[in-house]
Symmetry: D2
Subunit: 493 residues, 4 copies
């Protein structure tokens, strides 16, 4: 329906998807929540369709809401909704999003603040015209800036951190958008990748530590931007380069202008992108993630070999590491755990006695594979420990004789302040328990984590930089920015 495509003046806030109750998922599985994904297009006649395909490829980075804003140089066209990309958009909606420039967003799901108003791209009208923004990441000084702006009379439309940047731009002493954007970027601290559309100019920026990934590709003479390279593959674009920490790229009728709002400080790309978030077919720094994860599994095998009959991985994210472990050890890799591919979210909130069935609806052990066997179960991380306990039990109930848990990353002990939805420090099992205590908690026969050094070397980025240019804050509590303000507040990429 045409009513669901909005020009800017109509504001971008129609509800098009369904409300999802995570039900079993959020209660039972305590995986880290994926952060957001962004995708942009500059100068391509099929901008909205490319954005659709690109966001679809990034769907694993955020399943809660999806949105695209385009411009044809005359006006903005926006459509956003709760739900998956394929649920929020249909052919008519894509066709109604006119123009050759697009920015798009998929947003992750948080327990309490799921709402359309925060769905991105956020779109505003200010003295300088129309402005839209799509963000991946989190600001650590957002609350402080927000208080300051509200005191001065600003009225916020969302609870998103990102809106702070917009008000800074609207109130800047500079009326030239390039200067105003730069000034605003200099006031915010955190880990972020921004795609900002002001009238017909596209601004692309990454924080000065390069915490959140953002890549540039080319297609048919235009540019595309994505959180992961898998989206380039999907749309048929060629990878060009990574956006650099502190960089501000400006795209307008004169093409690309390369500028900076800040010098690069310590380069610190999030290590969890390598371990868990990014798709196995994506590359970061030209490193393919399936291969990197397979190397983590091999390294893990070297660090913590155990004699067993079967290696299995927790689907989907740990399959590569499991294959690596199997290849290194010669123990056969089998499908010992199976994930129902129809289950993302569910409406059903089962009664207490159906809870266990609800869990099996998502993931179940394959009896004939594990019965009477010594099983090595590979997972990428342990957050609260509840999931691991559950899976170990599932394997035992299916007849596994021994269950040896191997984790392809170090113990996850500290919260993230840069856009990953982590539980509080107290809830992280590794922050208070030793490895042996965790093993007991999850009732495994043995438990080993990949060492920090093993992780770094398995990933294999070029040496020389601190931590090889990665943020390992969640493992070593060493963050590249001050984080005091953020410890109070939640995260909202």
């Amino acid at each position: 329906m045409s009513d669901e495509i909005l020009t800017h003046s109509d504001q971008p806030a129609l509800w098009t998807g369904r409300y999802y109750n995570e039900g079993v998922d959020s209660q039972v599985f305590d995986k880290l929540k994926e952060e957001c994904g962004v995708f942009g297009v500059f100068n391509h006649t099929e901008a909205s369709a490319l954005a659709y395909f690109g966001l679809h490829a990034l769907q694993h980075r955020g399943e809660e809401s999806s949105g695209i804003c385009t411009t044809d140089g005359e006006q903005f066209y926006v459509h956003r909704g709760m739900g998956l990309v394929k649920e929020v958009f249909d052919n008519d909606k894509i066709l109604s999003l006119k123009g050759s420039t697009a920015i798009g967003h998929v947003r992750y799901s948080t327990a309490g603040a799921s709402k359309l108003q925060n769905a991105q791209p956020l779109v505003f009208r200010f003295r300088g015209g129309d402005l839209a923004i799509a963000t991946n990441g989190n600001l650590v000084n957002a609350d402080e800036l927000r208080r300051e702006l509200e005191e001065a009379g600003s009225i916020f439309q969302t609870t998103s951190d990102t809106e702070v940047l917009i008000h800074l731009i609207a109130r800047s002493k500079h009326h030239d958008p390039r200067l105003a954007v730069k000034e605003a970027l200099q006031r915010v601290v955190g880990g972020f990748a921004f795609l900002i559309l002001i009238n017909d100019t596209l601004f692309v920026a990454q924080d000065s530590n390069g915490l959140r990934p953002l890549m540039i590709g080319t297609l048919d003479g235009g540019y595309v931007f994505a959180s992961e390279t898998c989206a380039f593959e999907t749309v048929g674009a060629a990878y060009m380069r990574d956006v650099q920490p502190g960089e501000l790229l400006i795209f307008d009728k004169d093409g690309m202008t390369e500028d900076r709002f800040a010098e690069m400080t310590r380069r610190s790309l999030c290590a969890m992108e390598f371990i868990y978030f990014s798709r196995p077919d994506s590359d970061v720094d030209n490193i393919n993630l399936h291969m990197a994860r397979k190397r983590m599994g091999m390294r893990l095998a070297m660090e913590s070999f155990v004699d067993a009959d079967v290696v299995t991985g927790v689907p989907d994210s740990s399959i590569s590491a499991a294959i690596g472990f199997a290849e290194q050890t010669g123990i056969p890799y089998e499908i010992g755990l199976i994930k129902n591919r129809y289950t993302g979210r569910t409406f059903i909130q089962p009664s207490q006695e159906l809870r266990e069935r609800g869990v099996k609806m998502k993931l179940s052990a394959v009896r004939k594979v594990v019965e009477g066997k010594r099983v090595v179960m590979i997972d990428d991380s342990i957050v609260r420990g509840t999931t691991s306990l559950r899976i170990v039990n599932m394997l035992r109930e299916a007849g596994a004789k021994e269950v040896h848990v191997r984790i392809s990353s170090p113990p996850y002990m500290n919260p993230c302040f840069y856009g990953i939805d982590t539980p509080s420090r107290e809830e992280l099992i590794a922050s208070s328990k030793t490895v042996e205590e965790i093993r007991q908690a999850i009732q495994a026969d043995s438990l080993h984590f990949l060492s920090k050094q093993g992780l770094i070397e398995a990933i294999g980025r070029s040496a020389g930089e601190y931590n090889r240019g990665m943020c390992l804050g969640c493992f070593d509590n060493d963050y590249p920015t001050p984080v005091e303000d953020a410890e109070q507040a939640g995260c909202g990429c």
Copy 2:
């Protein structure tokens, strides 16, 4: 679904109704668009249900969108949607709107700017807390104030005039809401009735000319507020008094505080409320509108008698005047025109050749009643003249021998700047044509308008004030405020 009930922080912008294409209506009938209606409740345990019933009674004042915001002293509960009150709300939604204070709104339909974001009550969060507002009317200096505020860095969320007032409050030098509201009201010019909720305090204000109606009633020890008394009748409340021009009433835990933000200037209540907008069972200044319209019909008969067989009125708004005309002349009143009561809006956009059928779907002549007869057709006003022409033709096609048109108000020659959606001056047939030229244009056998003096006396307000305290600007081009700024912009109550 619970997702459609929002606490304030979730913002009030879910789409719950359907998109209406006015289709035939807007193309064929050129009635003035109704302005908005407001309804408020203070200190009643069933505030949201009362607001529902009250808004339903005011539905004729705005069919586009409906909304209610309540507070229980802790937080705001908001639900708004496109569509009629009964379409936007259901029992669950009403029950979820908690608290004993409520403000509600029905909004009229304009061609281009139909959008949920403008649906009221508008809800904001600012440094002082939560703020909601429901308005009937229009500001004449909104554009100027908006430019000024945007220049200073404010970001607007809607295209509604009303938002100007909110930013003035948010930026006021006063942090005490009472002083901030007063200061903001002193800067806006126009015709308006405001219901403003700031946290748990309700502010009620009317412009200093009293252009738009606003009444107070009492019920079970609490207060209710409405644009028309028919809403009091529906909820069982007792009429107390009209809000006075320039008055600012404040309701909080100390009950009602009577204050003013301005002295009353020339009292100028909109005459079209008497002629057309308000329901016939409503009273203004203790004058019942059915009776007033019947007197207009009688006076019209005295001013422009014509010998005929049948008197008929254009339903629904001209029935009272037609009955008055019939009673005065002794010519029988008959149902010569019938309106299909199921037709408000329609999805159907008929092909060109089905257009005429589409018209008859809404309104048709009753052949057996008018065939071979001399018909007096009473209407309340002529705007562009297209409707009148169409109805005259309809009567002739049904066999009427003569069609004498009698209009129960003076020629409508000038646009309204205070909240009524009028076409531009050029489109108003009476602004450029004489009565005789209009008669020819609508192909009537004769045509008469009620005189301005006749109108004033038929309404019968107490003498003494200028124009008996009414704004007749649309008839006499004599407006109670400066209107230059507004002539540029459209109207958006």
Copy 3:
């Protein structure tokens, strides 16, 4: 969506409307339920659009569900849904219903059996091809026939009486549809108007007593069929004649063939069509119903004059009679009761204490009109008496000094078996109470009913036939067919 337009083989049972809870309506107002309405088109290029407009004009005859089935000679196109015509259909749906032949239906609402499966036109596939049917009326021997057919192995798809006819056709010894339809019609007893489409042939039939109205009109060389002439006016067709009792008209490529399945027995058109059901702008036997009702009001004034200040009618159905009463007596007609034109149905089920407000939401007295006055209140009938009591009280609470009730028909004492949803005999107040007892029950100052003779003469059909060719069974218990079987079962047109 295209999925909502079905070819026959897909069966016609998509849910497109909303579920209506009659709420207040059904609890408070006990008007007789309208029966159904049918509309057909043969040989017109815009068959589906005409059916849409025609059904819209007949909407008052059934608000529960709407449906249209068309054929282009190749296949059937069907769309049905719960809700009003304008809710069930949109432009796309109309356009997707291809072909020059159409049958359409609006269905009334019953308490217990509201369901899409019974929405008409019912569509079937049988050995002879495709078959669709739209019915107004009721069979008195349906249960008996159904039992017989089920015993022989037939499986019913609906609970509608009408399906009995279809199974009789499907099992007929005749394979020629003309003979099969005729044979089937000869087995059913009751009051009915049928539009039956078998492949590309349209059959039109009326029961042998002519109980339910059905008229033929012509338009652009094709034919239209309707339960009321107002639908002809809406689509621009010319009235041709009434279908005759016992007649079977067949339309195919050879045009119209006039046949009969039975001889006319006692002609007995439902008197309630004149009194209440049909729209005032419809004609029956060339008698306009507004004029007939006005004559009923005049005759009522002659039979039961009372000195009073004001005459008012219960909107909408009693306005004509009220005007007649006023004209005859010289007492002014006023709008003393007002019906909210937005209220058809409502989602809201108010709590007990809000019940009274819910009632006023639908209908309210106009205080300024009735205060201190002696009021004559005209209504068309009294069913259970609860509505009358409520309205009398409403008028008194609004200040009426006296309330004199005048009913423009005789006491309604007996149920209808021919398609009108009447309460059981015990619930009909007039079946057990005298006029004086009813007066006390409804707390009126006086009460009079129009006499049967007065009614017959006011309607003014040509004399000579028994009861002037009308069924007055609900007043005099004299039915034109046996009714024993039907007394057991409910009614389902």
Copy 4:
């Protein structure tokens, strides 16, 4: 909404899901369509919830529509809809399906006949009371029986084969349901698994060749029935046994009665269940399918070794065979092809030039894994050959040096008549081309199919029976029943 839960008399045909356009999927990928899945529960207090979980586990067998019918001994409760189980049902709907007996169904998607009316369980009312049925399979003599029944006057409600059985029951000379069901089963020929509910009795039957799988399990003293054992694992039930060919099991208040309607003829379980349809964690005849497929991959490696750098499988169905091939040959298994787990169906129908992007949206090659490598690509079957060609090209575009295709089943040359939606014989590439011609058509460097003997031995059922008790008709054109009638008609499980 309660309106979507229907008791039987309301009929089971509400539209609750969305219409899916398979778009890219059906045009690009020519996998065989999954057949249907059934799940039943007898004597368990949470019958509807168990059915929900069980059907969810069987979702891969049919994504088009889902439905559950329960009974509490008093009446039937039915809910069906287009879409996935999790889309069609929510908590409220599950709770409204009362009783301790349930039958459920998931239905596969066919191009032309996607419609709710055919969604199962089908529910009927006949002389014997209420009847519901859920089927997996296809009748080969359905058309002939349908013609016979229609000729005798039966009216069909659906186009489903299954309805034939119902009419046979309704017209049986036996009024005792046990005898009527038996008689009806004796007249139908084909491959089927039936769950039939008549009032409070559940009938479970399998065709006399045992073509379609059906298993019985036990849970908390009650029984469950499923097309695959993975559903038992999900609900926590214990596998009891397979239903036997020709068996008719009857469940009522006396518990289970074991009967037969026919002697077992040649046992012929569908081999495609082993190769492709069933989930890898399901067991058939106590053979786990992941392990069976891994053995097929190993056997394939032995039959057709090729020197290469990487083995990859087409996800998801060929992963097990690929792992087997890798393990047998020592060539590393890698994720060379990746399937987007969010893509099941899509609304988007891309323009011609976006087609290729649409394909990559579903499946893409992982450049870093295959670049410069000799790749062995394992798939389970080749139907039309278009998919294989596309994937080979995808791998080459991603840089694969050589692509060797290995298929873990023999050439698929003949259509299935027992419930699998196969293209016509002409469209099956293997029916007219040699292996070498197919290799050229799909542009592979080499191509090998698993031999029939290799397949049979890899599956490993006990020897002795013809084809080890499997139907290999699609490979060897040797069907266990006559199939002439079915060759004319399509398949509709």
